[in-house]
Symmetry: D2
Subunit: 313 residues, 4 copies
């Protein structure tokens, strides 16, 4: 086994440690400031709103061996607010779920290598059964993630409904999509990659296929994200990056893009974003940029958060 | 005991059942359309972003007898992605929490009276141990809640840090705030009411006080919301409306504003929105309107959802 | 569709409602008194102890669609008792599991038909999202279940390792086993039925087979239990009774033995008891009776409890 | 701060590491064999059965800051077994609870000091977010805990309803009780200590008092347990040993008895055993020995288990 091509070189280049201070816990979200937020608002032209989140329920994409689908427990039903007035009632409920169950953000503490997390946080001091004492998702939540969003529809670029399950998206593909779509990237943008793979779940209802071999970006795309000063990076597959069990087992750096993005660059990753309706609208009007509001919930010390991302065009 | 003044008359007036079709499950969110969303974007001038959500953790506002504070369980820590490469690892976690634990949306199924929910849904056919088969929060999530937001700072209007714990905000107060703040309401707006009460939790760390007697709107404000065609209504207290155990026990319609808003009008309520930083900025620049993105998560059949609302000015 | 043969007649005969008072919530456990408990102790001759419980963990017998396998969450690890003394520490953990996950007792509230539970408790007054206000497993737990146990090894009687998956054990089979084993039944006994079916899980690790078509008693055995004044009835399969999806779908009274046992007779059922080691010992020494201690946990208002049954010979 | 008197000397003496093999995970339970189990059965004379467990529910003894009381979630209510037959139904439920919520066993992995657990297991190799890979409670469960039980009623010895909350029971007290009660201890016995403290919960309903300063054994009693070759040791308070926050903060070895018992001796501890009814019966007939069946559930890798202990006289 060996590391992916140029892994160390890319890691060194994109490593943002210290860039926003030694205490920084928000990483590439620091690229988001008033200017890009005003640009994001300026993208709103038709007032069309799209929700990019999957539902959270027992029929979700998880197979259940490790991560499982959300379990909803009603705790009150027909409960009187005033015991003397039986007909005026409320209902309450409890959720039990992995924070990585469906559409979600990976916090910067989600992965690491060599015992160190983003911004040189030592793993042994950071991670415990109480969660991540640093780099938890609460730091991505305040203020929550909002910026200009840009969809790169790689499936459409390749003229397919879905990329082949083994296809590794390259920086050249990303550049080709940028050009084909006529979009200009800006620092602080959040890029959304459409592979079409989510249809294995949303259309085929095939959880095994959805969680198995899947197309996504290769690790060189991390450098591309860095060069464009992206704030975050999302996709419609489970892993953002190209994934197979064989690939995981055949390398010294499994999930290399994750490692470069989260641990070196400090760039949050959004997974399982359902981009099909948005992509159809973008193709129809030729506009692939929009306002994106995708606020994680501030789960203190957590390494992820479910999210219901909204795209407003 | 008797019903609140004019309760039936107000209920009849504001009852939106059938207004958006017999199958409608989104209620007053139907007021949100492309026009108000474009207006919302047009409110963005300074690019300042505010997160209005509380953190979700063991130190949250719940006392624990019924609703409790979120419990975070790491399920993976330092777990190798490839068992042969021990140093490249990931972490995962699970949350166990009431959907009403902290900053949250009430779904339309959250309360009802006389055996019928919003849009004439029979409670016995709708609510079960499997959750709400209709009017669940997933219907508020797709597309998620985004619109023009308007802060009405009633504490500031009354020249206090916090309203008195027994103060009932009236439609006149709301009108006075609108006028004092120089803001114009539009159909589809989401109004955020600042009472200052959240400081009993955020500053005083007094959960008992936060959950106890508290200022909020009276039930007449439901008619005011209806007249302004608001899409949703939020506040910085726990109950949105004025609340005390004594009041609950002394009326035939406890939480009358909830009943009118959720059950009759079909207007979602947002609770425990932390408005202090936003309010300070509004006071500083005199602008109390903004883009609000507050997407609930699509928990299927659930009666509420945690939320991290974002206000962008 | 029709009811199983003579269902109503058997139900009428075995119905113990009122037998131990209108307020009784322990049903056939009332057959256990000092005499049978002294007999149970007298069965102890070799001092050999057998645990009949399955492990409770992620590798349990549940498939996960409805009931799922237990989830264990450590909440403390290496936590100092005194913050000033880091090396003296404790660990704690939390379990999340169905009470029907593996080896377990069915409480009397677990099933019913025609809107009425054991001892004429109306279902609508008894069962809610708060659990079973009557006939919950806590009533079987105080005092917990202990008595003389008798193993009836039907697989051995039939000279097979495992009964055929569709085999329905009859009262004649039970009588034949009693005779072949040379055991005498007494009022208050707890009978354990060995089908061998548990080996589909313990040996084959085939959860689908374990939860699928399986051998067990037919509904006529309920009358046999009644005639012998048994206190409880257990088996090594999942359903105690013969089970297949086809059978469930082809009758007006699915799980007829459950209905007669729990709802009419008030006799608790023990499921997924692992009897193989005990059975081997009984075959070796020819003694099939023993002391059985199988205390359910007193989960208030619950309809079941996991159990680790002990047999002492 | 310093260690408790003679702590190291006692630890060295009672340390059973290697006594039952280097791979042993059952510790002092190895004292239980056929002989003591036959003796246990011989103690059964009146056939009186006592349940020593507290109920597991929301009204349990936990205050909720760390450990919390069990949460019961019905997941099925009135669910038809055959969808075509609506009136024949079942109910199911889920529990969410700390394994240390109420009456429970501490597994040998529950506490340790100096980085090593019972039988020289290295803590860093044993304990992780997946639980205890060695010395988990499943090893105490197979075969489960059953033996001769002996109640030592220290409150009665001292002629009080409850020992003073600061009282530290000494080996002399234990010997005095043995003598006053006229009981003879045997190797493999399980001793149950009655302090009366549980009444702060069962009678006073005062959770704060129950979890606060409380009477119990001092650390010298570990040596006494060792000398008597006890299999396990239980009490009716929360901590078995004398406990106060001040004591915890004032020593280098907080919970010294726990450390000696669990980590050095490998002797399981039973907590919150409700002994009042049993003690009254023992006082009435002068017999303080009985059969004790207290099987933990086999939660794989867990550090504790709830239990419903049964005493049969």
């Amino acid at each position: 086994m060996a590391k992916p091509v140029n892994f160390d070189k890319i890691a060194e280049k994109v490593r943002n440690w210290g860039r926003w201070g030694d205490e920084d816990q928000r990483g590439a979200l620091n690229h988001i400031g008033p200017e890009i937020l005003k640009k994001a608002a300026a993208e709103v032209q038709t007032g069309k709103l799209f929700s990019l989140g999957l539902n959270f329920d027992k029929d979700g994409p998880q197979l259940g061996a490790g991560r499982f689908n959300p379990k909803l427990y009603p705790t009150d039903l027909f409960t009187p607010l005033n015991p003397n007035v039986p007909g005026v009632v409320y209902s309450d409920d409890v959720i039990h779920m992995p924070l990585q169950a469906a559409t979600q953000w990976d916090a910067l503490a989600h992965v690491h290598y060599d015992g160190v997390l983003y911004n040189n946080c030592k793993a042994c001091d950071t991670l415990s059964v109480k969660g991540a004492s640093r780099l938890g998702v609460e730091h991505l939540a305040s203020p929550g993630i909002m910026s200009r969003g840009v969809l790169l529809d790689i499936a459409r670029l390749k003229k397919v409904e879905r990329l082949d399950s083994t296809y590794a998206i390259t920086p050249d593909d990303l550049n080709a999509a940028v050009e084909a779509q006529g979009v200009t990237l800006m620092a602080g943008d959040i890029v959304l990659i459409r592979t079409g793979h989510i249809q294995t779940f949303t259309i085929d209802k095939d959880r095994v296929a959805f969680g198995g071999t899947q197309p996504g970006v290769n690790h060189h795309c991390a450098e591309w994200c860095y060069d464009h000063s992206l704030a975050a990076f999302c996709a419609d597959n489970l892993a953002v990056e190209v994934f197979s069990v064989e690939a995981i087992m055949g390398t010294d750096i499994p999930l290399a893009f994750h490692m470069l993005a989260l641990r070196d660059m400090g760039m949050p990753l959004g997974e399982m974003f359902n981009l099909d309706a948005l992509a159809a609208d973008c193709a129809a009007d030729g506009r692939y940029s929009f306002m994106l509001a995708a606020p994680p919930l501030a789960f203190t010390n957590a390494v992820g958060s479910p999210v219901n991302p909204l795209a407003l065009k």
